[in-house]
Symmetry: D2
Subunit: 110 residues, 4 copies
């Protein structure tokens, strides 16, 4: 009944988990930490990652043939966000969510 295969459903799960993690951190934890966590470059990364994950999910949910192209871009942004979060530190959960989403999106993009 759904537009998405079970592998795609997992990718939607992972993208939405990453969206929640990045958005939550960028508007809470990172601002409270201050310093590197609250720099424009870092927060913009986090917001970009949240947004592209939200949209990759959307295209998969509607069953768009363009979902793979968006997942390819999403995988790149998530991977770079994971590295960026490792750089600033104290963001292990977010790093894990970004890595998981990147991995799932790479499979969808293939």
């Amino acid at each position: 009944m759904s537009n998405a295969s079970s592998e795609m459903q997992s990718c939607i799960d992972d993208c939405l988990a990453c969206y929640r993690s990045c958005l939550s951190m960028a508007t809470g934890h990172c601002l409270r930490m201050g310093g590197k966590h609250a720099e424009e470059q870092h927060l913009t990364h986090m917001h970009a990652c949240a947004e592209i994950c939200r949209t990759a999910s959307h295209l998969m949910v509607i069953g768009s043939k363009h979902a793979p192209s968006v997942c390819a871009v999403c995988a790149e942004i998530c991977e770079e966000c994971a590295k960026e979060c490792e750089r600033v530190g104290d963001m292990d959960d977010c790093v894990a969510a970004c890595r998981q989403s990147a991995e799932s999106c790479r499979k969808m993009a293939a």
Copy 2:
């Protein structure tokens, strides 16, 4: 570390599940069913419900003090979408997702 309590996390889960169900049905199942399912009024309901659920989630994730007001509107729209889906029939999963989201949002709105 998160901006949201565990009750709020459940509400975000329910809203995102309802978003996925309504959006998926409105762009797939309903169009394939045709008839009442594919009428403008029904599909607009579904898209409005998907969008407000997506946004109620967003405000909860960022820990906005306005989340309860948005959850109150979300509860109304979900409740009415559940009734609308019952009216057209063959949408049991979507009815359940809308009811669950409406109930969770009512608690957040209180």
Copy 3:
């Protein structure tokens, strides 16, 4: 051909302008200013306002009967965001965008 009257089109314009202003400031100007501008409370306000404006636009664009309820909440959030931006200062354009969006949404909500 459109789902929205010309008054509603103006309201969509105003909401999208407010969305752009709040989101742009919250991820740029405010972070660069630091101090009160970069506090969690202020930035969460800005992000909440951006998101509800984006969604009020969405419901008007699709011609939802629920657009007035969402516009009512949007008017409240925009009004409060305008006050919040006045409080921190150096945000005149954003104050104006929030006021304009609040006024248009109040008309739609009526």
Copy 4:
């Protein structure tokens, strides 16, 4: 003060105009026309185009370094949506909005 150059501001304008056109048509005009206009494939195209335009705008507004990658995908989806709208016919305004958005996004992607 803004995160975006004036050329980028025009691209945001064009993407948001395309978002409004595609979303409005997909939930109104196309459903009322029926036939080819109301087929799943066509409507999914329209919704995918609306969503990617909304998100390309978002990344430009926040000044993300990933905006060019998203604009590149957006240009492809808009171009194909324009062709799809020409195929079904009676969608001249939407074709124009998609073409304009595709052209602006290609410049940003370069």
